[in-house]
């Protein structure tokens, strides 16, 4: 059983590594993300959000959905720890 788990892990890892071969090179200016997404944020974020810090604008506005579920992940971690560990009734 342990050998099976090891084989499954290695196979998944190899597939993931194989998949990264198709990614654009790191920092490639011709990659799809760099040609319109990043440029769009840099050009319009300050006028659209009046927030000089582009990171805050992307995190809190353009990708607010992502940030919300980041908070939910932390919340679920806390609830999980309370549910598993707590031994007192209030």
């Amino acid at each position: 059983m342990k050998l099976l788990a090891l084989a499954a892990t290695l196979l998944t890892g190899a597939l993931l590594l194989y998949g990264t071969a198709d990614f654009p090179a790191w920092g490639d200016p011709q990659s799809p993300a760099s040609t319109h997404v990043s440029a769009g944020y840099i050009e319009t974020a300050v006028q659209e959000t009046h927030t000089p810090n582009l990171v805050a604008a992307v995190l809190g506005d353009y990708r607010a959905y992502d940030t919300m579920f980041e908070l939910v992940v932390i919340y679920c971690a806390g609830i999980g720890v309370v549910g598993v560990l707590r031994r007192v009734r209030e």
């Binding site: 659209e48 009046h50 959905y65």
Partner: protein, 159 residues
């Protein structure tokens, strides 16, 4: 000297006067700095997650320097659990209110229909409102995680 030895043996290093006084002085500044990190997130690196961790760490420092009981008296576990819910609800609630006002989910520009402010100003303000929710949620969860893990779930005696 004898008392110090007894304290060291019983593991109550937090009873030490130097530690208690230093923590008493440091905690308000850490909390003020956490609010600064939250409020200044629009202009410099910062925001709800970082500010929340700082705020939670200040409470955690108090729980370390004193004991878990005094920390629990300051913040009853029920209140902490309720406010971590409130933190998440503020974030999700703002998104839902935006949707109810006729915009997209999390489209802060929808608030401009209720309170007349320029749309970019509402987007800036919306980020701040949401970060307040993040701050409350992260700070409370940090404290709860410390309580649970340090006392193995009994909430009686910490580290």
């Amino acid at each position: 000297m004898k008392r110090l030895q007894e304290q060291a043996r019983s593991g109550n290093l937090g009873e030490d006067l130097i530690i208690r006084t230093a923590v008493r002085i440091m905690v308000p500044f850490i909390q003020l700095f956490s609010l600064y990190v939250l409020a200044h997130g629009h202009y410099s690196p910062g925001g709800g997650f970082q500010g929340g961790v700082l705020l939670g760490a200040s409470f955690l420092l108090m729980a370390l320097a004193f004991d878990l009981k005094s920390s629990k008296e300051l913040f009853p576990p029920k209140v902490i659990m309720a406010s971590s819910n409130v933190g998440v609800l503020i974030f999700a609630g703002i998104g839902v209110v935006c949707a109810l006002l006729g915009g997209y989910f999390m489209d802060y520009a929808a608030f401009a229909k209720v309170i007349p402010l320029a749309v970019p100003d509402w987007r800036s303000l919306g980020i701040l409102l949401v970060e307040v929710g993040v701050q409350i949620g992260v700070a409370c969860i940090m404290l709860v995680l410390y309580w649970e893990l340090s006392s193995a779930g009994t909430l009686e005696e910490g580290l």
